[in-house]
């Protein structure tokens, strides 16, 4: 192997699959994780911790439902705090998965192959976490269905001018498409697992999930068509979902929310945080399961480069806010900018600048990009930074808007934190289950890479 085929030579050099692999080695390596008889002790520890955190979420939400929104730190004027911050954060994280799966597929960026599966899984689980928050943040969650257009005898209908209704459609569409996309992509691999499983229960479960996949040419043809179509469907969602989420703020009158830059800025931020999360997850994963051959340095580098690009768009967004505050001459906007940087929440603001802009610049250096654990650290920092960004946008704007008489600070209560940390537990629990029982890398697609690295079995 001296030369990389042209179509995989995107973004940067280096192999997307280390040489020397055969169909068999790829299949064995990936399916063995799911089919292993013995669950690794480390998995149990990781899942156990995640599960405990998920139980914390259950407890926190239970308490919330018993008592009311007042268990959180919210007040008047700050009607949204951790709830919507977490929602936006989680939705944003999901975006990388869709981008990797759909847009990079359509652009024939084949380096995506080894990371798309768990990026999609991550999307799904992140959307699940995200979807939780709009539901539980309602004062009366038991009437959540008022937000849906359902036929009722009083002919009541949602109020379609509200961005929250757009959210309902955007997020539910996104969740549906993401699920379908992920599941369709899983079909050939589920069949592989079915065929390779030794134990009968596994055979049955994988068999049912594989939906009768036999690998015939017709199956493959339909599969490819369906996958491409779903990719086409998912592509606008990458842009639309976070655009709609940003409308929650952009259509309001509140200084710091009422900003036309929000849609592109939110989308870029979403991809930024999403890729950071993919890195956060993939680096330990590849290290623990020895998947360095599949998730190569080239993947990590490419993702780091996406981070630089989207990070700069985000930085542009911050700069645009500052510029518009000055250029627009709106005293409320000007106050807001000052208040963010020098008001009581200055640590949050400067931390986010540090995390999202300054830390990202380290990725210009190849030495840093090629050190997985340094990269991992930066990714974590960016995750924190993006959470802070949403916190600053949502909370700090609300604490001091138009009338100083009603200005008031917000601080998350312990139930806010429990819900937030618990949602991470939910996310990780689902992810651990996914890692244990489903192929974390697309076996079928990796096999096609084997062709390209000329590692075909004799």
């Amino acid at each position: 192997m001296t030369e990389i085929p042209e179509k995989t030579a995107s973004l940067s050099g280096g192999p997307v699959l280390e040489p020397g692999h055969t169909y068999r080695s790829v299949t064995e390596k990936i399916s063995s994780i799911a089919l292993a008889r013995r669950t690794p002790k480390e998995w149990w520890i990781g899942f156990g911790v995640s599960f405990l955190l998920m139980m914390l979420l259950l407890g926190a939400v239970g308490h919330l439902f018993m008592k009311g929104i007042g268990v959180w730190g919210l007040n008047i004027p700050v009607g949204w705090g951790f709830d919507i911050t977490n929602f936006v954060w989680w939705v944003g994280i999901g975006h990388a998965g869709t981008l990797i799966s759909a847009i990079l597929l359509l652009l024939r960026q084949e380096w995506r192959t080894s990371i798309n599966r768990f990026a999609e899984a991550m999307t799904l689980f992140a959307v699940a976490c995200a979807g939780l928050f709009p539901l539980i943040h309602l004062g009366r969650p038991w009437v959540f269905y008022f937000l849906f257009p359902y036929p009722d005898t009083m002919r009541l209908w949602p109020q379609f001018r509200s961005p929250l209704v757009w959210d309902v459609f955007a997020v539910s569409t996104y969740a549906t498409v993401s699920l379908l996309f992920w599941f369709v992509g899983l079909l050939p691999d589920l069949a592989t697992l079915r065929d390779r499983a030794k134990r009968r229960p596994a055979k049955i479960v994988y068999g049912i999930l594989a939906m009768g996949w036999r690998g015939s040419a017709t199956h493959w043809h339909r599969y490819e068509t369906a996958y491409l179509l779903l990719a086409g469907l998912a592509t606008p969602l990458v842009v639309s979902v976070h655009t709609v989420v940003s409308f929650d703020f952009a259509t309001s009158v509140i200084p710091g929310w009422h900003t036309t830059i929000f849609p592109p800025y939110f989308v870029a931020g979403a991809i930024y945080s999403g890729f950071a999360m993919v890195l956060t997850l993939s680096i330990p994963l590849r290290a623990f399961y020895g998947l360095e051959d599949f998730i190569t340095m080239r993947h990590l580098e490419n993702m780091a480069k996406v981070l630089i690009a989207t990070g700069l768009i985000v930085a542009y967004g911050y700069a645009a806010e500052l510029f518009m505050a000055w250029y627009g001459g709106n005293p409320y906007e000007q106050f807001l900018v000052k208040n963010r940087a020098f008001g009581p929440y200055w640590p949050a603001y400067w931390s986010l600048i540090l995390c999202n802009i300054v830390a990202g610049q380290l990725l210009w250096f190849k030495r840093i990009r090629t050190r997985p654990w340094v990269l991992w650290g930066i990714a974590i920092v960016i995750n924190v930074g993006m959470w802070l960004e949403r916190y600053v946008i949502i909370v700090v704007s609300l604490t001091r808007d138009f009338m100083p008489s009603i200005w008031r600070s917000f601080h998350g209560s312990r139930w806010d934190w429990a819900t937030f940390v618990g949602s991470i537990g939910l996310f990780l629990s689902l992810l651990f289950l996914f890692i244990r029982f489903l192929p974390v890398i697309s076996i079928a697609e990796m096999r096609s890479l084997v062709d390209e690295t000329e590692g075909r079995e004799e």
């Binding site: 929104i69 919210l74 009366r140 959540f144 008022f146 949602p158 001018r161 309001s252 009158v253």
Partner: protein, 998 residues
């Protein structure tokens, strides 16, 4: 779904014709006996339940599940509910129409004076108290905050409920029989060991009863004690006129006013009237560009200082010094003059000149906290300025037998300690808690052989009395009282006593040996004796109906003060030490209101503090002592010390600490427990209104204070717009020009067509910032009208108070003596309401008449509307705030307003229930709603008439006239919200000789 076959009407007719007997049919589909209908029947009715198998639940399974449910359901039904018979009206009470309120005129008591009110009653339950605008003393109607909150006292579950004896439940009859031998013994000794202690009163019936009683027991005595005594006022009048003359002021006639620690706008028995009169001098209109000018010298920040054009903060003695300087400048001998500071001297000179320039139209008012000499001086100044008969009316004392209450109490305590008091009857009050600390009333009480207490609450005093009788609320009993001008109101009950309450008249009747006399008989008989003649019934009915006895006011007398100058000069303040000033609490008064949640949660007008009192300090003094708000300090005076949290108040005089009395109750209901510190502990008989030489020591502890407003300045935003009178004359439209008001068509969207013609009403409101005195009566009125819950201190700290109407208080200028602005903020009912577009479920929508309405049932609680409200007037039920369980509070609720559950947003509705009921009436009578026919609760309560509501389509309406004023402006109109609530900008009337332009 299969398409339905069209009905075959001919076949139906044929079938009906064939049928035998009465044929019942469920619909035309059945009659047509189509296949679809048979299928429908088969699935719909239980006899076919066994065919449900296809849906996944078969009949057998269904029965299994249901039998289990029924068996479990049976477990909870083991106790049989008691049989209760309900009885319908046999004769419908006259005028009682279910769902329609009735209004009755009666009177509450405030410091012994009548507060004439109209009480709204729903099916026999009083629910809301309003002022009585027909009453001659209060022609503008309106109330203060206490009057509004009184209804909550009536229904307070913590009220004293049963007669008790030595801690065990007893009965009224057992009290009567137990007292009989005691009274007999007293009768033998002429009542030498018999004492009655009550607060000041104006009740003619009670006066007559007391006279009778004291005739039976000539050696007995009726002592008086009020925790907030008006002794200085009486003594000042005594010194000036030689008699306890009462003065009533006509602020509407005064062009120059000097307030010496004045407290006429709040707490005074005439405050509601004074606020109205004062407002009339401050109401500036296109055709009346004239303002009174007020000077206020004060030793503690007050409403009077906040509304004054010139205010100076002085140490308590400094106010007297300033008064003497002004007095000598207007030609009243005032004895030796202490030197004044430059600022005070300039202030005094300007004030004196202004007063002198408005002879007969000026007014000098001294506050209750000032010593008698200052009151006497004020009387002399008014006389010298020719104000008597013009702005000051002097009458005989309105109070019955006014005695200096401190002397009265001191003499009583001495007797009690000597053991010579054998029977003590304590009527109301709470002397164990609020008597001067050095008298130690509690210890003296222990030496009294038999003590009887008539008390509204179970409080510190009832704890130490042997017999406790629950007192009736003013709405539960007959009585009579005089208003500040002497006009008598015969108070009628609206409801039978909720508990075993007895009135003071009934208790005194027992003491006088006629225990079977009811309040009704006592009051009526007294008045029959006063009005002999055939027309008594007509007089009685007329007086009760109107809420006052016609022509019963006291006539003004023409009196001249004695020329003798009281030369007493207040002891100079001890250098270095702090002056301690006691003031009644703005919301708890003397502590009586400690268990009233509405008053506890009502932000104090100036400090915006709720649920606590604090040691108020000026910023400079706090900085000197190294203190910040919420620091706990040991506050000591005269060898006594209490721990108190500090609150730094801009404009507070330096080296003075204000302690509001009434907090720190030890025995009180659940609401008042653990609130504030007891300033009475520091108050001794020698220094009732304040002490000098107080010290403050930091303890290092902190006590969180619940304030509803954390930012005190407008931050350069034009939320309250103000100018001096001169600037207003230059540019009357200054307020409008300070903001941006986009034209109606300045929108990308097609303006929504107005669904109603211009002949239909469009509701709007205008609030005059010139007349608003910040008294907060509107806030409590709103709470009472709209069933708003109380959330408690912790939730206030978290920013979750539920007031639909808040009064923003902004400071402008330096910390030492800033200008104070009050701005009531309620829902603006924006025509382009930002809240409406963001609600995902359409729970807040616009009515054709321009109301921004909340549909609680539809609200899911996203809080997006509140986030998007630039005025932040929406309130969210973060928890289950409304008390849905306490039975007595259910009686209190306004039946026309939903009690909100947790998780829903709420806000001001412009009292939509009042609009609806008036609209129904107007439709019934077939004529349009008249201007002023609808009054919102806040408007009705406002003593100053600052809030005007009405139809802005009607060009003749008061609100349209206000909105046409040049001062009219809207808040944040640059957002194109098009608010229906607008404000009239504040205009100050500064004296150019002092400067300090607004």
């Amino acid at each position: 779904m299969s398409e339905r076959a069209p009905l075959d009407l001919d076949a139906i007719r044929a079938r009906l014709a064939d049928a035998d007997g009465p044929a019942y049919w469920r619909g035309l589909e059945e009659l047509s006996a189509t296949d679809e209908f048979r299928d429908f029947l088969a699935h719909e009715f239980p006899e076919n339940a066994d065919q449900w198998g296809g849906d996944g639940v078969n009949r057998r399974r269904f029965l299994q599940l249901m039998s289990a449910s029924f068996a479990l359901a049976g477990l909870s039904a083991c106790t049989r509910q008691p049989e209760e018979k309900i009885v319908p009206y046999i004769d419908q009470p006259e005028e009682l129409v279910p769902g329609k309120p009735l209004f009755f005129a009666t009177a509450l008591s405030w410091r012994g004076y009548a507060v004439p009110v109209l009480v709204e009653s729903h099916m026999g339950r009083p629910t809301k108290i309003e002022g009585n605008p027909q009453h001659p003393a209060f022609p503008a109607g309106g109330t203060d905050a206490f009057t509004q909150a009184s209804i909550l006292n009536l229904y307070d579950p913590a009220r004293a409920q049963v007669v008790s004896h030595a801690g065990t439940i007893a009965s009224w009859e057992s009290l009567i029989s137990a007292l009989a031998p005691v009274l007999q013994a007293q009768a033998a000794s002429g009542g030498a060991g018999f004492r009655i202690l009550s607060g000041a009163t104006t009740s003619p019936t009670l006066a007559a009863q007391m006279k009778d009683l004291l005739a039976r027991f000539p050696q007995a005595r009726w002592d008086r004690w009020d925790a907030i005594p008006r002794d200085a006022v009486r003594a000042g009048a005594q010194a000036a006129f030689g008699a306890p003359v009462a003065a009533r002021y006509r602020f509407d006639r005064a062009d120059a006013i000097l307030s010496l620690d004045g407290d006429f706008l709040a707490g005074n028995p005439a405050s509601v009237r004074y606020a109205a009169d004062f407002a009339s001098g401050r109401r500036i209109r296109r055709d009346r560009v004239k303002l009174s000018r007020m000077y206020a010298a004060e030793s503690s920040p007050s409403l009077e200082g906040a509304v004054a054009d010139h205010r100076i903060a002085l140490r308590p003695g400094g106010v007297g010094d300033l008064a003497r300087a002004v007095a000598s400048a207007v030609g009243v001998a005032s004895g030796s003059n202490a030197p004044l500071s430059a600022a005070a001297a300039r202030f005094a000179a300007a004030a004196a000149k202004d007063l002198g320039a408005h002879r007969g139209a000026s007014l000098v008012v001294a506050g209750e906290g000032q010593p008698p000499e200052v009151h006497a001086l004020a009387h002399r100044m008014n006389h010298a300025l020719g104000n008597v008969g013009a702005t000051v009316e002097l009458t005989d004392s309105v109070e019955v037998d006014p005695v200096p209450s401190l002397d009265s109490l001191r003499r009583l305590v001495e007797e009690m300690q000597a053991g010579s008091v054998e029977l003590l009857v304590v009527v109301g009050g709470n002397p164990v808690f609020d008597a001067p600390a050095d008298l130690d009333f509690r210890k003296a009480l222990a030496k009294v052989r038999e003590s009887v207490r008539l008390g509204f609450w179970e409080d510190e005093t009832s704890e130490w009395c042997r017999w406790n009788v629950p007192m009736t609320h003013a709405l539960e009993t007959w009585s009579d009282l005089r208003a500040f001008d002497g006009t008598v109101t015969i108070a009628q009950p609206l409801i039978a006593p909720l508990y075993q309450g007895k009135s003071v008249h009934e208790l005194v009747a027992v003491l006088a040996g006629s225990p079977d006399r009811t309040s009704h008989d006592l009051v009526k008989d007294y008045w029959r004796s006063q009005r002999p003649g055939l027309d008594f019934d007509a007089f009685w009915k007329r007086s009760i109906h109107d809420g006052f006895v016609a022509e019963s006011g006291l006539p003004a007398r023409n009196l001249a003060p004695s020329a003798a100058a009281a030369n007493a000069v207040a002891a100079p303040s001890a250098p270095g030490g702090l002056d301690l000033v006691f003031r009644p609490d703005p919301t708890l008064w003397d502590g009586e209101w400690a268990n009233n949640g509405w008053m506890q949660e009502l932000p104090k007008p100036l400090t915006r503090l709720t649920w606590d009192n604090a040691a108020l300090l000026s910023p400079a003094t706090a900085a000197r002592l190294g203190l910040a708000s919420e620091d706990v300090v040991a506050l000591s005076a005269g060898g006594r010390s209490v721990k108190a949290p500090v609150l730094v108040v801009p404009g507070h005089p330096d080296d003075v600490v204000t302690a509001h009395l009434g907090y720190g109750r030890r025995r009180v209901g659940a609401v008042g427990r653990g609130t504030g510190f007891d300033a009475y502990h520091l108050r001794v008989s020698a220094a009732l209104s304040g002490a000098s030489g107080a010290t403050i020591a930091k303890t290092g502890a902190a006590w969180p204070l619940a304030s509803t407003q954390l930012h005190q300045t407008m931050d350069g935003r034009s939320l309250v717009r103000a100018a001096s009178l001169a600037k207003f004359r230059e540019n009357p439209a200054f307020a409008r020009e300070a903001g941006e008001d986009p034209a109606k068509d300045e929108t990308l969207y097609k303006p929504a067509p107005l669904p109603l013609p211009a002949s239909d009403p469009a509701w709007g409101m205008a609030i005059d910032l010139n007349t608003c005195i910040g008294c907060a009566a509107c806030v409590v009125a709103c709470q009472a009208e709209n069933n708003s819950p109380v959330v408690g201190k912790e939730q206030v700290i978290r920013g979750r108070e539920m007031h639909w109407l808040r009064i923003d208080r902004y400071y402008q200028g330096g910390l030492e003596n800033p200008k104070t602005y009050f701005e009531p903020v309620l829902c603006m009912h924006c025509e382009n309401a930002p809240c409406e577009v963001v609600c995902p479920v359409g729970a807040t929508v616009h009515s054709p008449e321009g109301l921004n309405e909340m549909i609680y049932n539809r609200c899911v609680g996203t809080r997006y509307c509140s986030n998007n409200c630039p005025y932040k007037v929406r309130r969210f039920n973060f928890l289950q705030f409304a008390d849905a369980t306490t039975p007595s509070l259910k009686l209190m609720r306004n039946p026309n307003v939903t009690v909100r559950s947790r998780g829903v947003m709420e806000k001001c509705t412009y009292c939509v229930q009042r609009i609806s009921s008036v609209r129904i009436e107007s439709e019934k009578r077939g004529s349009p709603i008249r201007d002023g026919e609808i009054k919102t609760a806040c408007q009705q309560a406002c003593p100053a008439g600052a809030i005007v509501f009405g139809n802005i389509h009607d060009r003749e309406s008061a609100v349209a006239a206000m909105k046409a004023e040049p001062l009219n402006y809207g808040l944040l109109t640059e957002l194109n919200t098009r608010p229906r609530t607008t404000y009239l900008a504040k205009v100050w009337n500064p004296n150019p000789e002092i400067g300090g332009e607004a």
